[in-house]
């Protein structure tokens, strides 16, 4: 029998909160981080809001030389992974060749890369340092280097499900004994590419995103990073680590339907959720709530609701489907890990988070979304869903 994988460290740095304790308050009290954006010029777009990391001085954090060589996503990742490792107290507990890092990434260093491109197009000089983090794998490399994680270095890039998959994969590496501990999660930053891109597809809501509400128009973009430290339970207990939660199981798959539109039947999404539950050993009746992908696009929210009905049948109305994206924004490559951390914190507090920004009941979204407020729960198991461009789907089953 595989050993249980436990979460012994959590770290987060995102637009909604600068550290774990602030993020816990934001999730449990329903404090949205949505506000005006000034990272780049958003005036040409109908939607001008997002959840931006503010009051952040990379030079103060990393020094001028290192800050210049790190992409914004690398910087976020280093901060969040650093908090998770410190929170775990794992330093010195394992051999470096038994420690790994698994990162889910998205646009990665595009924020800096597009500055280089703009300068080149305008025939201005540009620092080559702007290109150093252009590929999504660099965050894993700099985290491995900074913390001496020499056993594994890997990056998953399945768009908005990247970091959920990285957590599932990281848990598997620990459960099977290939590594003693893994730092896994994701990091992503706002960029002109993604902001203009989603606007060009007309899926960005000019108002703060309102998942599962009538009149919703789409996403609100965000940025940040979240990481967790995973270990086998026996080893974690031996060293007296605090156990924040468990990765009980996961499943992944592709819809093979369309690059941007979800399969309207929700059948593959339902299959992935069901497979994740099977892999976890938990029953449908154990699930207290589902942290939705819940982007706030008209189609996503209907399909996810449909998938819930396929998985839970008549019980679907009793299993809240909650989106924390109105708090954090849609953090793309980091979304899965940010929401996994939110779910673990909420499980630990016995609280099902509220879905903010309710605008009215949508007859096509006819489940319980906790629009009216957070609520107490005795549940010890929750699912976190991530859907992505290309039809990539990952479901994590989390426990306390």
């Amino acid at each position: 029998m595989r050993e249980q994988v436990v979460i012994t460290g959590l770290g987060i740095f995102c637009g909604a909160a600068g550290d774990l304790s602030a993020f816990r308050r934001a999730i449990l009290e329903g404090r949205s981080g949505v506000g005006p954006l000034d990272l780049f010029d958003v005036s040409p777009f109908p939607a001008r809001i997002g959840v931006q990391v503010r009051d952040f001085d990379p030079v103060a954090r990393f020094g001028r030389r290192d800050a210049a060589k790190l992409s914004r996503a690398d910087q976020f990742g280093l901060i969040a992974a650093g908090e998770a490792l410190e929170n775990s107290g794992i330093s010195g507990a394992y051999d470096p060749y038994a420690l790994g890092v698994a990162v889910g990434a998205g646009a990665a260093g595009m924020f800096q890369g597009e500055q280089w491109l703009k300068a080149v197009l305008q025939e201005r000089s540009a620092s080559p340092d702007l290109l150093r983090g252009i590929l999504p794998d660099r965050t894993a490399t700099v985290i491995a280097e900074a913390h001496g994680l020499a056993g594994y270095q890997g990056t998953v890039t399945t768009a908005c499900s990247s970091s959920s998959t990285a957590i599932g994969w990281g848990a598997d590496l620990v459960a099977t004994g290939k590594l003693d501990a893994v730092v896994c999660g994701g990091s992503d930053s706002l960029s002109i590419l993604t902001f203009a891109g989603f606007n060009s597809l007309r899926v960005v809501d000019p108002q703060p995103c309102a998942p599962f509400s009538l009149g919703r128009q789409g996403i609100t973009l965000g940025e940040g990073a979240a990481f967790m430290v995973l270990e086998r339970e026996s080893a974690a207990r031996r060293r007296g680590a605090t156990i924040h939660g468990r990765i009980l199981g996961y499943a992944i798959g592709g819809e093979a339907h369309h690059m941007t539109a979800p399969d309207p039947t929700g059948e593959v999404a339902a299959r992935i959720m069901a497979e994740a539950l099977t892999s976890s050993g938990a029953g449908r009746e154990d699930v207290g709530w589902v942290n939705a992908h819940g982007t706030g696009t008209p189609l996503n929210d209907v399909v996810e609701s449909t998938a819930m009905k396929l998985v839970f049948g008549e019980r679907a109305k009793d299993v809240p489907l909650v989106s924390t994206k109105p708090v954090t924004g849609h953090c793309l490559g980091a979304a899965g890990s940010i929401e996994a951390v939110a779910t673990v914190l909420a499980l630990g507090a016995g609280t099902i988070p509220r879905t903010l920004h309710f605008r009215g009941r949508d007859p096509e979204c006819d489940l319980d979304y906790c629009h009216d407020g957070s609520r107490q729960t005795a549940a010890t198991v929750a699912i976190s869903n991530s859907f992505a461009f290309g039809g990539n789907i990952t479901s994590l089953v989390l426990g306390v």
Partner: protein, 346 residues
Amino acid sequence: MQQDLKNIVVTGLAAISAAGVGVEPLVAAVRTGNSCLSAVPETVAGGERQKWGRAEQFRAADFMPPLKARKFDRCSLFAVVAAGQALASAGLAKGALPPERIGITIGAGFCGIANSEEFLSGYFRMGVDGLSPMLFPNTVANAAASNASIEHGLQGPNVTAVQRFCSAESALQLACRFLEEGRADVMVTGGVDELTPRMLQGFRALRQDRNLAAGFGEGCGMLVLENREHAESRGATILGEVTTINSIGRLVAGRETEAVRLLLPASAPARIGLSGTADLWPALEAALPDVARLNLTPITGRSLAMGGLAMAALVATLESGDTALHLAASPEGPYYAIAFHGGAPA
């Protein structure tokens, strides 16, 4: 990190490279050892004498109508065509298996960058009027794997891995694990990469054009993997077996020798294949001094995900019963050693 595998076999191969479209031209290039790299056009090279390994013989129109090809980026075109050829070589027609039992993991190098550049260039030149929504979906690194999954109806595990020069090896490691776990019966895996003039400009800016990016290549190498029992039950031809995957994330200062020991098997293989910067790591050369080696870099070019082509070439040239070790490395890690057996030894 050591992963001993039981009964994961290779039943299909595909290759698109500077040598041509298909495994045969790649094998022919390997056997002659002749370089397929060509001179970078003067307009692209900016006065520098450079070579690159563009897959010049690849024509999307040979495989799909032009209107359909237009919706894909170049990496996706490579992946869609190569995945189709790999599945065909494995004898797997569309619909032969339940779609949820076939998955895909691809190592992607610079996938998504070309579309990102084109999309952003439109915006920087013309503002919102220059935005082309059609380009945006394929700016993600997973576009190649996802488009291949859509075209071939693969609904099993679907992951794109990017990790320096070991992206394809990272993807193969995932594929083997998914087969071990029973998440899929068949996995299509490999690596895909593209090469554009703007990328060369970036390499020059980073002063890599005379270093690791000299003679960069593009293309796609794919392998079809499945459990031996599954392959035998459907009468598939077994081309080889993946027996172990050893990897480390990065070198620990002062413990480099231990890293080589963690990577390499106890007994020397008959042949080694090299990818990424493995040919530049002296410790590996020293550990396996007299073993025949297949280094694709001078033949079809180096890139982040060319390990897919290197592994396909290695398996395609393995005699039945031979052992071979595929070695891949990146300057800042990771490092992979993947062992293959040729043919179908029980």
